[in-house]
């Protein structure tokens, strides 16, 4: 019993990092992880050693994160696509065309690339980051994301667009700069 408790407890830093990346709010992340650990300790029988402990805990945490997002999504949406206005001229053409990234396949094999990606994710505005993580990390459909964030599909696409624009810019500078 105590052994299980200490093994679960050992995963706390990892779970906190995972929740923090998605929720972008240290208190909400702390709460989600706490709920996860309590649920895990109460439901030890459900573990049964089928998956790795970390995978099992992450599965519980995902549900807690979605609950937390649901609670947080009361904030008023402020849509603006103007942030990326500077990238295009008045006729909507690139001011500076995106160049090709050098050897992107190799990047996916390098741990440092993922560190750069996490850093770029951390720079996104919270709501944009949440929408993007729900889509690309939790693999939810746009319709589910709209529902969780209480926004219209159009706003949802705008959030995802902004995330991709910002991440592409950030990775170009931080990783693929020539």
């Amino acid at each position: 019993m105590d052994d299980f408790r200490s093994r679960v407890e050992r995963e706390r830093p990892y779970l906190l990092r995972y929740a923090g990346l998605q929720l972008r709010d240290p208190h909400a992340a702390e709460d989600a992880v706490q709920e996860t650990l309590l649920a895990a300790l109460a439901g030890e029988a459900g573990f049964g050693g089928r998956a790795s402990l970390r995978t099992w805990l992450t599965g519980i945490l995902k549900h807690k994160i979605i609950d937390a997002i649901r609670r947080m999504s009361r904030e008023a949406p402020a849509v603006s696509e103007d942030e990326f206005e500077a990238l295009f001229d008045q006729r909507g053409h690139w001011v500076e065309m995106p160049g090709a990234w050098a050897d992107p396949g190799a990047a996916l094999e390098q741990g440092r690339f993922f560190a750069a990606l996490e850093m770029c994710l951390a720079r996104l505005p919270p709501k944009t980051a949440r929408a993007f993580m729900m889509r690309e990390h939790l693999g939810l459909q746009t319709s589910e994301i709209c529902k969780e964030l209480a926004v219209t599909p159009t706003h949802c696409w705008v959030l995802l667009y902004r995330a991709r624009m910002a991440l592409r810019e950030c990775l170009s500078k931080e990783w693929f700069r020539k």
Binding site: T55, A100, F114, E118, M165
Partner: protein, 62 residues
């Protein structure tokens, strides 16, 4: 009418989140055939998706 690069980047992004209509796909393809910048953009957001999938799948074992 030709789509601008700005409109094309929006369509490329939406194409990752919903099924584009026939007209949208045709106009996108026409633009991409002649625009290296938007073609690079499309490759890069696709790579971004692959990178996120890899991040998600390696996280539990990290």
């Amino acid at each position: 009418m030709m789509l601008s690069c700005k409109q094309v980047t929006r369509l490329i992004s939406q194409g990752l989140d919903r099924d584009l209509g026939f007209t949208e796909r045709v106009r996108l393809r026409v633009h991409l055939a002649i625009c290296a910048g938007c073609t690079n953009f499309a490759t890069q957001v696709t790579l971004l998706r692959q990178a996120m999938a890899k991040l998600a799948e390696q996280s539990p074992e990290a």
